[in-house]
């Protein structure tokens, strides 16, 4: 790095160390670029510190308790159990520490310079970083904006960090709430709500839509809703927040549901009604950029913004707020900066929900295929017919496959059931490879495993499943 008069010249500057930014930094460094990576908080971003990893730690603790119930059925006799949230937080912190250290070590091993501070743009090719030691300035050949997103507040239910929480704060609780009201029916609310309910909290989920998980196939959602009911979760749909009061540590939220007012008291309220990109305060206009009305940046197939030397990746850009999208965009942007022909040409983007059971979906749903005018063939296999699922005590759920009718090329796979998050890898590969139904059904899948559900679903779509009675 050459220290200039005012600004240090650097090949690549990246703002944000979430799964978008740190991955871009490592990839750029691998390709021989000199990289300065700027982070105002902790290395790892939301994903590591208040997102994917922390939520999955809580979910797994809750699942462990769920396993106890199954274990009883299997012959394991147990006496009482309790959940120690402080111990849980310590365990989670140890994982986060391990992963944060790992990322820092990888950044160091690749020669990436990490600067602690808050970045903002000075011009089209310069940024300022406010560090503890004062301001630093960098002039860059290429820059990447990877500043991520933060929880969206509800105007009439603003976060106070004590009673009205965002997901970030809910994940930092050191005591299990007795009664938790969740506003919002998206995946974050459902994942956390299900976990808290299993851990012993009384959970009420209220969403403004006609059902939870809008955009997901209805039949997948049904399976999850059944287990939510079993976990004792109350679900209120088409419910709008009208107002709230806080008295003696209890929040009382007034909801409007079909013209009727309902008051719900809870010791904590979790609001998960979406996320907002971190684009304010960056002085993007000085870099020649502007966002859409919601604050998101528009980019091309490589992640390039309207400013040719500036890229934007991850949650700040349009698209699903998913860590793997963020990381992949990071790789592609880094490769583009290094002069490669990489492009966001993925045929599909898997989505996994760590609900109970897990949902994993990739590619088109039947409805989406119909909307595109594609004639499809559909096959399905229930986990109840899988010997492996039964021995896991997890006979609920199914695997569905959707293929183009004539070519039999796989267009979508939708799984709700045990280990769906691990099964979806094959489905994603199938779609990217342009595999046909036959390719999947002719591939030997080991017995007794859950992978057989995809094989059988593919066979079912051809009318030749062994373990499904003829329905044609």
């Amino acid at each position: 790095m050459v220290v200039g008069d005012i600004a240090q010249n650097v090949q690549t500057v990246i703002i944000g160390t979430g799964p978008a930014g740190y991955v871009a930094a490592i990839r750029a460094a691998q390709l021989g670029l000199e990289v300065v990576l700027i982070e105002r908080g902790e290395v790892g971003g939301i994903c590591l510190h208040a997102g994917c990893i922390s939520s999955k730690a809580l979910i797994q603790a809750a699942n462990a308790i769920g396993t106890l119930a199954q274990a009883t059925e299997m012959g394991v006799e147990l006496e009482r159990h309790a959940f120690n949230m402080q111990k849980h937080q310590a365990w989670k912190a140890s994982i986060q520490q391990k992963l944060t250290r790992g990322i820092s070590a990888l950044l160091a091993a690749n020669g990436v310079t990490v600067v602690k501070g808050t970045a903002l743009f000075m011009s089209e090719d310069r940024i300022a970083v406010e560090t503890e030691q004062g301001m630093e300035y960098y002039r860059f050949e290429a820059g990447i904006i990877a500043t991520g997103s933060r929880p969206q507040p509800l105007p009439n239910l603003p976060f106070d960090g004590l009673h009205i929480l965002s997901s970030t704060e809910a994940l930092r609780l050191t005591e299990l709430p007795k009664r938790l009201l969740i506003i919002g029916g998206d995946c974050i609310g459902l994942e956390l709500g299900t976990a808290f309910a299993k851990l012993g909290t009384e959970v009420i989920i209220a969403c403004s839509e006609s059902d939870i998980l809008q955009g997901f196939d209805h039949s997948l959602v049904q399976i999850v809703k059944k287990n939510m009911r079993r976990a004792g979760i109350t679900l209120l749909t088409q419910a709008e927040v009208c107002g709230h009061t806080i008295e003696e540590g209890t929040v009382c939220v007034t909801l409007q549901q079909g013209g009727v007012e309902k008051k719900i008291a809870a010791d904590k309220v979790l609001v998960t009604v979406g996320r907002r990109p971190n684009t304010e305060g960056l002085d993007l206009d000085r870099a020649g950029l502007s966002t859409d009305e919601h604050g998101f940046l528009t980019t091309d197939h490589q992640g390039r913004t309207a400013n040719r030397n500036l890229f934007a990746i991850g949650d700040v850009t349009h698209g699903p707020l998913l860590a793997h999208r963020a990381s992949r965009e990071g790789m592609i942007a880094a490769e583009a900066i290094a002069g490669r022909n990489s492009a966001k040409d993925m045929a599909c983007m898997p989505t996994v929900l760590f609900t109970d059971p897990e949902i994993a979906t990739v590619g088109l749903t039947e409805a989406e295929a119909h909307a595109q005018g594609i004639a499809v063939t559909v096959g399905q296999f229930p986990f109840a017919a899988s010997g492996r699922a039964l021995t896991l005590g997890r006979g609920e759920g199914f695997c569905r496959i959707i293929a183009e009718q004539d070519s039999r090329v796989v267009l979508g796979v939708h799984i709700v059931g045990a280990e769906a998050s691990s099964l979806v890898g094959e489905a994603a590969l199938a779609i990217e490879m342009g595999a046909t139904l036959e390719d999947i059904s002719l591939t030997l899948h080991p017995h007794p495993t859950l992978t057989e559900t995809l094989m059988e679903a593919a066979a079912d779509a051809q009318g030749i499943a062994i373990h499904v009675a003829k329905r044609r």
Binding site: A347, T365, D439
Partner: protein, 64 residues
């Protein structure tokens, strides 16, 4: 929420073949696939490239 990038009439080719097409500066939509279900293979790309080069050569000869 789920992000179907899949569209009707997409070119069937594996991720590696799609990347190779970009590296060879070939518009993969113009390549006819010889694989199963019309999948474009690496060999199809190389054949397409050879054909393009021959075409360019004969165009150049004609121009002379």
């Amino acid at each position: 929420i789920s992000a179907p990038i899949l569209t009707a009439g997409r070119v069937l080719a594996t991720p590696a073949v799609r990347q190779l097409a970009r590296d060879l500066m070939i518009d993969i939509r113009l390549v006819s696939g010889s694989g199963a279900a019309g999948r474009v293979t690496k060999e199809d790309l190389l054949a397409h490239q050879r054909a393009q080069q021959e075409q360019r050569l004969s165009d150049a000869e004609r121009a002379e």
